[in-house]
Symmetry: C2
Subunit: 236 residues, 2 copies
């Protein structure tokens, strides 16, 4: 077998980019999330079109796509700008994520079949391996851990039939990833998330909805504290 999960998202993005605009969109998104373009920074089309090797109109489209994800804000006739960050915003993102993700998990636990269980176990295994490599300190493992962490959370709620909840959760995950990168840069050794993930998996497979959502809730909210402890100038 090749891939157990099949992502049928509202805005599918699993496959590779089929247009120049989308390619530029993804590069830009990565650069924004990784902090290459700082929050609040002005995004001048004239400069960026050379940097990303596309025409002005094409880059414009890419920027427009990023507005969808709320990673870029368009201000009337005054061009584009990287979405600013703030502690309040992150708190908002986190709490909204809790609301959506717990609801999705609850439905997943209720409706998930054997394949879902298998996917959860598999994703957890992948994540655990990435965590091991992370403490070993090899390079490039941060990227892999991020990917697998995201996959794990996605698989957890994959049995939730609501495409809209998954869509919104997707957007919020990208948003929070931006903040998490900031905190991880400062505090490169993550807290013991393994046990938390394990507990979520156990509760989920035991079909203990209340317990699973409670742990997931705490798990997500804990990232709030990590960002709260950042020096103020990190949040602009």
């Amino acid at each position: 077998m090749n891939d157990l999960v099949s992502s049928t998202d509202l805005a599918s993005e699993a496959d590779e980019p089929k247009t120049l605009a989308e390619a530029a969109y993804r590069q830009l998104r990565r650069d924004i999330i990784e902090g290459v373009h700082r929050p609040g920074e002005k995004l001048r089309v004239e400069h960026l079109k050379d940097q990303y090797e596309v025409g002005a109109g094409t880059l414009r489209e890419a920027l427009q796509l990023l507005v969808t994800d709320a990673l870029v804000v368009a201000q009337g006739q005054r061009g584009f700008r990287v979405a600013p960050i703030s502690l309040d915003d992150f708190e908002d993102i986190t709490r909204t994520r809790v609301l959506l993700e717990t609801s999705a998990l609850q439905q997943s636990i209720e409706l998930g079949d054997d394949t879902w269980e298998a996917n959860v176990v598999a994703a957890f295994h992948m994540l655990s391996r990435a965590e091991e490599k992370l403490v070993e300190g090899a390079k490039g493992t941060r990227e892999e851990w991020e990917l697998r962490n995201r996959a794990f959370h996605e698989v957890l709620i994959s049995a939730c039939p609501s495409r809209w909840i998954r869509h919104f959760q997707n957007i919020l995950y990208h948003q929070s990833e931006r903040y998490r990168r900031l905190s991880l840069f400062r505090q490169p050794i993550p807290r013991d998330v393994h046990a938390e993930h394990q507990a979520i998996v156990d509760a989920a497979l035991a079909r203990n909805s209340a317990e699973a959502t409670r742990i997931l809730s705490d798990h997500i909210l804990r990232t709030l504290d990590a960002v709260r402890q950042l020096p103020a100038d990190f949040i602009n």
Copy 2:
């Protein structure tokens, strides 16, 4: 006084369009919601650019903006298409709306001040007047009722501090409006929503969170039944 509420949305759209692309975007959005462009219909740039009197690139941008609202879907290199509709989708939209809107109302009731109460009462009054005109059967009142109904629901949750919840709720409201128009076309005399709205207002002002969210929940879910009773070919 002119306007009590001040909408500080994530993607503000209260003011008038400042660019041709945004103007085209709003016209297109209205036409899609009102059913001028049917669900699933292909949106050819070449035809539409004449109809909306803008350049090809500009219309392209407008379409891209509509993808944000999920009213238009972009398919790789095969152009744009009006987002299809289905009963499953509407059920999803409605249930997600309930999740978000009840949470927002709960926070609103918890945090709303006197001004919020005044806004709620005012919006309810405006809506009630529109309902009276609606049963009288004057023309153009449908449009006004829609606007005031939307304003009422918006004001109810306006004291919720979460910009993200309000943002998502906004998107979902546009979506459900499409479906509601279909059902209202068939069934032009709306059910007795006045009593429901009254009950919500009473519970909200009494700061009875549990009661208010329960009524709001039923209120939103009731629209589901209305659409369910439509003949199958209305939902494609």
